[in-house]
Symmetry: C3
Subunit: 160 residues, 3 copies
C-alpha cells in the first residue's frame, strides 16, 4: 500500500495567532487525506499544556518560569495587540462571530482527524516539565531526531 503524503509542522510559537494558523493548516491537510504531525517545541509547548491546575516543577527558577509562562490553549496571547488581554479577548470574539473555533476546539478537531501531536522533550527538560503537564491528546514525547525522521519524508514542512 502506498504511504500517505505527509505534512510536518513545528509549532515553536506559543502565540494565539500562530497556533490558529498551525491548526488551520493541520486540520485542512488532514481532511485532504494527508498524514499530519505537529511537533510542539519551546513556547509552542504552551499550546498543549493542561488548562487546569498549577504546573509542577522543581527549583525556584523553574517555578518562576512556569508561573510567568503558564500556557494552556485558553491562555495563549496574540503576538501583537495583546493589550493586557483586551486585544486577545476581542480577537476571540471576532473569531466566534464568523464561527471560527477557539484553539481548544481546534485541538479536538485535529485529533479526530488523526493529526499526531509530539511534544519536544528537550524543551521539557530545560523548563522542568513532566508528561503530566500536558493534555492527554499528546501522542508522544520526542526530540529533534524524531522530528527530522518525519520531516525528511514530508511533502510540506513548516516552522511556525
Amino acid at each position: 500500500m502506498a504511504e500517505k503524503e505527509k505534512v510536518t509542522i513545528v509549532v515553536f510559537s506559543g502565540d494565539l495567532d500562530k497556533a490558529l494558523a498551525s491548526f488551520n493548516i493541520a486540520t485542512t491537510a488532514a481532511s485532504m487525506g494527508m498524514d499530519v504531525t505537529m511537533f510542539f517545541t519551546f513556547w509552542g509547548l504552551n499550546v498543549i499544556k493542561k488548562n487546569e491546575g498549577p504546573l509542577k516543577s522543581k527549583g525556584l527558577m523553574r517555578k518562576m518560569l512556569n508561573w510567568m509562562n503558564r500556557g494552556g490553549s485558553r491562555r495563549l496571547p496574540l503576538s501583537k495587540f495583546h493589550l493586557f488581554g483586551l486585544g486577545t479577548w476581542m480577537m476571540k470574539k471576532l473569531m466566534g462571530e464568523v464561527r471560527m473555533p477557539p484553539p481548544e476546539d481546534m485541538i479536538a478537531t485535529a485529533k479526530r482527524l488523526g493529526v499526531k501531536f509530539v511534544a519536544c522533550n528537550t524543551s521539557m527538560g530545560v523548563m522542568g516539565l513532566g508528561e503530566d503537564a500536558f493534555i492527554p491528546e499528546v501522542d508522544s514525547f520526542a526530540g529533534a531526531a524524531t522530528f527530522l525522521g518525519e520531516a525528511r519524508k514530508s511533502t510540506v514542512n513548516l516552522f511556525i
Copy 2:
C-alpha cells in the same frame, strides 16, 4: 510540457523586515525561472492592503482593529527597533543608500516577474475585510486548502 519548479511562501508576518525577506526570496526564485506563489495571511495581509484611504469594516471592534492595524506596504514596522517609527525610517534610508527598493517597489517587481499573490479569505473574514481593502495586484482570495494544493507541489515551502 514539464511543469515549472514551484516555490510557495506563507507571509504570516506584517513586519517590514520579514516582508523584505519574503519578496527578496520570491523575486529571486521567479527570476531563476521558478513558479512562485505568495500566500498572505493574518498580519501578512497588511503587506498587500491599499496604502490609501480608510478600510471599511462593520462593527466597533473590527473598526478599532483595522484602525490600529491599518497596514499598507508603506506603513509596515520593523519587528525590532521600530522605535515609534524612527528605527523603521532609518532602516529604509539605509536600504535606499544601497539601492534596495522599498516594499511597494518589490511588489511591482514581483508582479512583473509573474509571482502570484493570494490573500487568505479566512483571516479576511475574521478581520472584516473585503476584497476592496487590497491592492489590485492580488490574484485571488482563498483558504488553507488552496495553499496546501500549491505547497504539496512545491520544491521549496517557507512560512515567514
Copy 3:
C-alpha cells in the same frame, strides 16, 4: 556516488530561543548523516557576529544600528521574558543544569559535524557590515540565489 540528503535552514531571527532551535535541528540532522546549510540573514546575522570588539561601519545611522544591534552568540536575547537580561540569564542557567550547551558551543559542534554557514551579503550591505564582523566559522557570503540553489535540492527547508 549518490548525493547526500540536504537540509537548509534560514536563520532570520537573532533571538536566543530560535537560534537554539536552529542549531538543535542542524546538529541533529548532520549527525544523522544529512548535509546541512544554515543561511543567516537580517537579525540572524547577530548569531554569527564576533563576540569581541566593536563592529566597524560607516556613517552615523549604521554606527547607531550596530551599537543597538551589537549581536554575537553570547548576547542573544530571548524572544519573550528577556526582562532586561534577567530572563535570558535564567534560561541559560536552566539549560546548563540539563547540560544543554550555550549557542557558542553549539556553533563549534555544528562546524565539527560539517554544517555549512552562509552569511547573507544583502543584509550585510544594508547594515554596513564587512566580512571582518563575523566569526571565522562562516564558510561563505552570498545572497538569495545561493540560498535557493541549496533549498531546491533540500528534503527539509525551514525558515526560523
